[in-house]
Amino acid sequence: MPVFLAIALHAEARPAIERFRLKQDAAFDLPVFRRDEVWLTVTGTGSMKSAIATASLLSRVERDEDSVMFNLGIAGHTQKADEGPVTVGDRFLANKITEQSTGRSFFPDLLAKTPLAESVVTTVQQPLERADAGTVEPGLADMEAAGFYQAAATFLPPHRIGCVKVVSDHLETRRIDKHRAGELIAGALDDFDAAVAAYRSVRDGAPDVLTDADLQLVRDIRDRLRLTASRHRILTDLARSYKLHTASDLPDLTRFTHVSVKTRQEGDAQFERLRGILSVE
């Protein structure tokens, strides 16, 4: 069950690299760090770069149904310092990501219950000035989330994509010191880790009644009998039907992985034999 992380700056990524004891993987053109099932890409600043690095990672690493992907980074908050509850260091999970340049909004699916508060995140192309705070929905302003989300959503269901932002400023600071950025991320890692764990615990409904071994067996039979894609689908459904209706394991079908068929008629005959064995009517 891979966990993918996309983080804009090395300074923000370093605490996560250390915490999860990741090592750089030189096989990638972009900076990618990994250990076991955790993959982290340092994307660079900006929506486009975040999208490219996210898509690149997700298309190169084998995913499974349970993979999750997170963007983690610092962001400014529209609330003025000392004029509300939000302070530097607070962390939020994005419940809405708006791309300022297009006005489009995206919604990660919030199925997993995490310890994090939630916020709207608006992705801007230039750092937002205090004077322009009123041009975005109250909440966070960052430079990556929209690009990250759109790229991740091409590959993953929306409840397996998360975006966590740590408040670095109230739109007054023009540049955040690198060291400070690292500290802010480091301070949020416990909550972040808990959020990732919560996302990973969500299952996509009841599992397939066919196990991986069953599915492999059906594929082996397909190859042996040279079944068309449509027949492969029918055979898979017959196997499912058998297990669901009999509440027992598949009968022994290994002999169908040894038979040799030379003509289409022979293939058809073997397929009909299989159909007879798996029929539950």
Binding site: R104, H159, L244, H245
Partner: protein, 343 residues
């Protein structure tokens, strides 16, 4: 990284997604008060949440969100061939809500909608206006305008949150040429029990053998409670319809569904029932295929099926046997003329 924790999911309706344009409707205010602790996310158009790609229907079923929206058009739809039309020339339905709080294994909504989240359209008056026009322009003025208002949802099951059954019953009371059907599997009759019955609103209960309900109709009240609700509604003077639909080809189906008919007539005097519908399991081909892709865990979607035009159902012989069986068993008690069957 943290290991796998116990599954930590939000409970249902932890989040309200509210279209900007829906904010000022009384129902929106009511729902916000009802779910005062819910996290609110403002949206421009409900489809940006509801129609996201790659959503997982069954994963969402365990943490359904509410989406409050304003329906912009299509306040009336013409009925489809998969529904009984009760010999009405004009059979219509509307979608006041999309999706349902229950989760039946055989539910076609899994194949129809991209999301399991519940959309509530808050602009009820626009539906009323369109319905008045539909009544006025109906093709056969001799018959009332027949409208199913609990379609693609179970309206009564959600009445405590969205009091639409009440609103539609009151609306029907004012419209002499309207006949509405409110179909449900819920036992929440008490939510409308204070209303005066009217002949212009049929309360329709879908009934299943208890073993079928317990195994395949998740979250739905057991048969016993549904029958208590039926009984109360009839005692109060409502026209009640009993729906044996879908009849499922489960093992021992004849004994299960025969037993169901026996149980029903033990509890309910057939003479007091307005009419009865019967239909074996059937789905549009498109919905069936999409459901199968998502549901690899329920026997109801696997086995012998056939396709007729755009409908998937059991092979003809099986289907005819099941329909004939149900007609016979129900006919013994209700008489043929009150039974409407999809064949």
């Amino acid at each position: 990284m943290n290991g796998y924790g116990a599954s930590s999911r939000w409970s249902n309706f932890s989040h309200l997604y509210i279209e900007r344009g829906a904010n000022d409707y009384p129902l929106t205010r009511r729902i916000r008060e009802r779910f005062a602790k819910a996290r609110v996310v403002e949206i421009d158009d409900y489809k940006t949440v509801f129609a996201r790609p790659r959503q997982r229907f069954q994963a969402q079923k365990e943490s359904m969100k509410l989406i409050l929206a304003v329906k912009k058009d299509r306040f009336l739809y013409e009925g489809s061939g998969n529904s009984q039309d009760f010999s009405f020339k004009a059979f219509h339905y509307n979608t006041l809500m999309s999706n349902c709080v229950y989760n039946c294994d055989y539910c076609y909504l899994q194949g129809m909608y991209p999301s399991a989240n519940i959309v509530v359209f808050v602009n009820l008056e626009d539906y009323f206006t369109a319905t008045r026009e539909g009544i006025r322009d109906r093709s056969n003025p001799v018959q009332p305008f027949y409208l199913c208002v609990s379609y693609d949802t179970d309206l009564l099951a959600f009445e405590s949150v969205v009091p639409y059954c009440r609103a539609w019953i009151e609306f029907a009371r004012e419209e002499p040429d309207l006949l509405i059907e409110i179909r449900t599997k819920s036992a929440a009759y008490r939510a409308i029990r204070d209303l005066q019955p009217t002949d212009r609103a049929i309360l329709a209960w879908t009934l299943s053998p208890e073993p079928v309900a317990a195994r395949y109709e998740h979250g739905v009240p057991p048969l016993r409670r549904r029958l208590e609700a039926v009984r109360s509604a009839i005692d109060d003077g409502w026209p009640v319809r009993l729906c044996f639909d879908p009849v499922l080809a489960v093992p021992s189906w004849a004994s299960l569904y025969g037993g169901l008919v026996d149980e029903v007539v033990r509890k309910i005097d057939p003479a007091t029932v307005r009419d009865v519908t019967v239909g074996v399991f059937r789905l549009s081909k498109h919905h069936f295929q999409r459901m199968r892709r998502q549901r690899t865990d329920t026997p109801l979607l696997y086995g012998e099926f056939m396709q007729e035009d755009a409908t998937v159902t059991y092979p003809a012989e099986r289907r005819e046997e099941m329909t004939a069986f149900m007609r016979r068993r129900l006919g013994d008690h209700f008489g043929e003329e009150r039974i409407f069957a999809w064949t």
